[in-house]
Amino acid sequence: MFVYCDNAATTPICKPALDAMLPWLETGYGNASGFYKKAREAKKALEGARRTAASCLGVAPEALYFTSGGTESDNWALKGACEAGGHIAVSAVEHHAVLHTAQYLKKRGHPLSVVPVDGDGLIHAETLVKALRPDTAIVSVIYANNEIGTVQPVAGLARAVKEYSKKILFHTDAIQAAGHIPLDISKDIDMLSLSAHKFGGPKGVGALYIKADVKLPPLLHGGGHERGKRSTTENVAGAAGLAAALDYMCQNRDNFARRTASLRDKLVEGILSAVPYSSLTGSREYRLPGNASFVFAAVEGESLVLQLDLMGVAASSGSACSSAALDPSHVLLAIGLPHEKAHGSLRLTVGHENTEEEIDYVIQSVKTAVERCRNMSPLWDAKKGEPLHVH
């Protein structure tokens, strides 16, 4: 049995996206900037994809720019927003695409504030506003966290920032959220990043929403594509795939979200009751429908992922024993977990394509995998069935 439970890492491509892409990979290879028929057809498909995606998001098509993915969108937003200098504020639970970009900018002389979160991973408006300064150029807050699935009150946070100063740009990384939950793209949100492969689209294509009155300098200079904002020959197949996947998700969102959340709840309850000394990380209430993230005492996350792989379950961990610093995920530390607990993390992210039967199998597999790891762990008392050092 193989069960895919890593939908936050990437999703299988959906049929509508594949169908929408194929013509532009086969015969529709024209360069969308050309003047002949093949080029005009490609251009038409590109602009059609832009309109479809924009309509799903409830924004103007002219405000949507295709990029190579979420990381590029995040880089563009941050680097562009503080080109003229200024302070940056980001939450403590940002994806590396934002956090490492902000840290890079800090090295280039931009003061950086990392805004703390509560135990559920939620950012509070008053905490965010406290971090703002007269010279703040941009605030970036992740819409929904990739590790623990916490969904932020983004519109409220953006409003609080604008009440402090209209001059500050507000960006949100909505890469985990787009397609899965309704996005509230209020007038206070200046920029929003998304990535196609997180919602059934292809890898290598994303988008950045830039509100009409925001003057963001380009990240890529060249032939003047995307109305001079983002040069490089347009990825027509990618854009078509992104739009088709987003449309498919938006059309079916309530249905998919309900189904996914019910599978997730079954998974969470099943694991918490089957595995002693386990706990859920992140908010129960403000949570992505597909995210189930845990920590297990006396177990190291990477080993757990490898054990699950042996049983055919694809999962991931924020243990990041692979990081050079040996630090576990910054997100788990930000919600207040001590290092030793954060090393025992497991993230299972389900999608609407998973089945009840698969969830039952995953619960059993996690139970077995944790037992195997604990059996091997010098931190576990096998006789008593409890951790030796409860921190």
Binding site: E300, S303, S319, S322, E340, M376, S377, P378
Partner: protein
């Protein structure tokens, strides 16, 4: 990212557990860093008669512990002390760069176990 040899030792760890009636014990690493290795041995007549490990850590930590026990079992204490992390890595056909510290931990665990034995039984060494 792991070699077949590393995965083999992870999937079928050798000498996992605790030696009954052990007379040497070494625990190295700490939970904060995400790696703890504990080696127990029975040393008789200057020879590592039996050795077992318990490890809290990543795949590389488990594999290095497993192969290190194989490499010192039946060896004299002097031979066991001469085991280097480099030899452990070579035996595993390589480790990713960020996992090299795991092999150091295996070497340290063996040295710590033997040191504990020598402390308890100074006359016999």
């Amino acid at each position: 990212m792991y070699t077949d040899c590393v995965m083999d030792h992870f999937n079928n760890p050798r000498n996992m557990g605790e030696v009954e009636g052990y007379n040497a014990e070494g625990t190295v690493g700490n939970a904060k860093c995400g790696d703890i290795m504990r080696m127990t041995m029975r040393i008789e007549d200057g020879v590592v008669k039996d050795v077992m490990f318990k490890t809290f850590g990543c795949g590389a930590a488990v594999a290095t512990s497993s192969i290190a026990t194989e490499m010192v079992k039946g060896k004299t204490v002097e031979e066991a002390l001469a085991l280097t992390n480099k030899a452990v890595v070579e035996a595993l056909e390589g480790l990713p760069p960020q996992k090299m510290h795991c092999s150091v931990l295996a070497e340290e665990a063996i040295k710590a176990a033997i040191a504990s034995y020598r402390e308890k039984t100074p006359d016999l060494t």
